[in-house]
Symmetry: C2
Subunit: 315 residues, 2 copies
């Protein structure tokens, strides 16, 4: 059985969006998957009662009314709110009740809770977050890190490469992921000192299929499976793509391929490098986004990504 937890109190439109997205997901999750609702008992129960009994059987409720506010200090939230939905979710993961946990709540608080309850994987100096971008050739290009480590070091970027590779291989099914370094030009001497040094380290790394620097203009061309950068640059790339998508909506441009850039389709951003499969959702997550995030969490949990990362870093 696969047990997925969802934070019903996380996100700007919680609990409504989280609840309705979770109920949609119940219909789509695998037969052997159980969905754990972490949120208000009565409200969840009432909605589950409206479901077909066969579906409601696939649900478990972990009752709580407490949650971390969006602007709240993550460390204080961990200390003062043990019953906040995010803290309950991560604690349930640590106890082995859940195989995966997703939340669209306070991202800092989710990160702090994941580090506290699940601990970083031995050998991983800094956990990071990834996002898989659509490509012209229908492949996916996994960008890592897209937000946690704004001040990164070359050795950290090499670890991001390894983590991204494991995600691409175990979750997206790419046999031998090609790793590129996001940069301002093809030559090894391009970019900041951080990127020059990282280029050197990636060239020498034995367990990485390094294909060299990748300029952002070629980022969607399907020439790499994993693209490495610091968390500041990655966050800018992720959000610029969102801004561009919004620009197209503003122009009333509709296109099935471009629709893949809709954040609602992403299914959230996995945190790599902690002992557990934790997925971070967009704060503005709609019902559809929550549903896709739960399905993505099931995929990561079934692949047991955290276990594979642990093995790879501790062989």
């Amino acid at each position: 059985m696969t047990h997925i937890g969802i934070d019903i109190l996380g996100g700007d439109w919680a609990p409504e969006a989280a609840l309705s997205g979770s109920l949609s997901a119940l219909n789509l999750l695998g037969e052997n998957t159980i969905l754990h609702f972490i949120g208000p008992q009565n409200l969840v129960q009432q909605h589950l009662d409206e479901q077909h009994p066969a579906l409601a059987k696939k649900a478990v409720i972990h009752p709580t009314d407490d949650f971390v506010e969006m602007g709240e200090n993550p460390v204080k939230a961990l200390q003062k709110k043990p019953q906040a939905s995010i803290n309950i979710g991560c604690a349930l993961m640590a106890k082995g009740v859940l195989n995966g946990f997703a939340s669209a709540g306070n991202s800092g608080a989710l990160m702090v809770a994941a580090m506290h309850f699940l601990k970083p994987i031995n050998g991983v100096s800094r956990p990071c977050v990834v996002s898989a971008f659509p490509q012209k050739n229908e492949h996916k290009n996994v960008l890592v890190d897209v937000g946690i480590n704004a001040d990164a070091k070359p050795e950290m970027l090499v670890q991001f490469a390894k983590l991204g590779q494991l995600y691409s291989h175990h979750v997206l099914g790419v046999k031998s992921p090609r790793v590129a370094l996001l940069n301002t030009g093809a030559e090894p001497s391009k970019g900041s000192l951080l990127y020059q040094k990282t280029h050197e380290l990636l060239t020498d790394a034995k367990d990485i299929t390094f294909v060299g620097n990748l300029e952002a203009r070629d980022f969607y061309d399907g020439v790499s499976d994993v693209t490495v950068c610091d968390g500041f640059t990655g966050n800018v790339v992720l959000k610029q793509a969102e801004g561009f998508y919004n620009l197209l909506k503003h122009q009333n441009i509709e296109d099935p391929f471009i629709e893949k850039f809709n954040y609602e389709e992403y299914g959230g951003t996995p945190i790599l490098g902690v002992n557990g499969n934790v997925i971070l959702g967009h704060g503005i997550s709609s019902s559809k986004a929550i549903c896709n995030m739960i399905l993505a969490t099931e995929k990561v949990a079934k692949a047991n990504l955290a276990l594979h990362i642990n093995k790879a870093f501790n062989k």
Copy 2:
């Protein structure tokens, strides 16, 4: 009279694209503008002879067959090739023959030549390059730096803000440009140490209308006139926009607003902070791109941007 120089030997498709773009520009430049062709005498003369005599009168040729190769070392090119088109162009600017100079050639070599012949403006610690991005509300958002300073310091970013402001005001006609800091979130504590410190300095700067942090997802929303970042991040943003535009072309999506993202429409990237109006074009510049770059150079030269920057930094 306004005198604009164009490098006929610069760019991947030189001399054909540069020549044909220059001839198109001749038709469009103001009555009191003279276009200086820096390139092969016979070839240019032959093409000018095919023009209407009234147009050919607006042209001057500075003959040379030498140029800097795209992959050539910029410093060596300056030392060993005094007759390379880029070096001639910058030298003509320094002598006061030209009011503006544009090249789609080796960008490093153009930068080195501009620094050598024109010198940085007193008080500007690091010249930078800017690009004006289309906005939902038809305004322009000037991103600075988009490529030179991959390793930037907070004080440099504050200067980029001032330089961007002067560009927005004098060239784009924005009365009181609003300056934002590109970042990963709205709070002052967001981003890398570089961005945290820059936020502090911009908040305290008296001559800057600082409107706070801007996330990349809001970059096209017309909420700032100038957006400041380091040259690595800016280059990634510029090239990602180009990548996204290419993606839309690949999907056969046509839209007049989106067409503004076509690099051919940009008109090149002005170098700010040297004593002269120098515009850097895209290496792959087509005839149309060259034509627009020349028109943009005329605009910058007529505004006499370099002079305004000099005044602002030395009052």
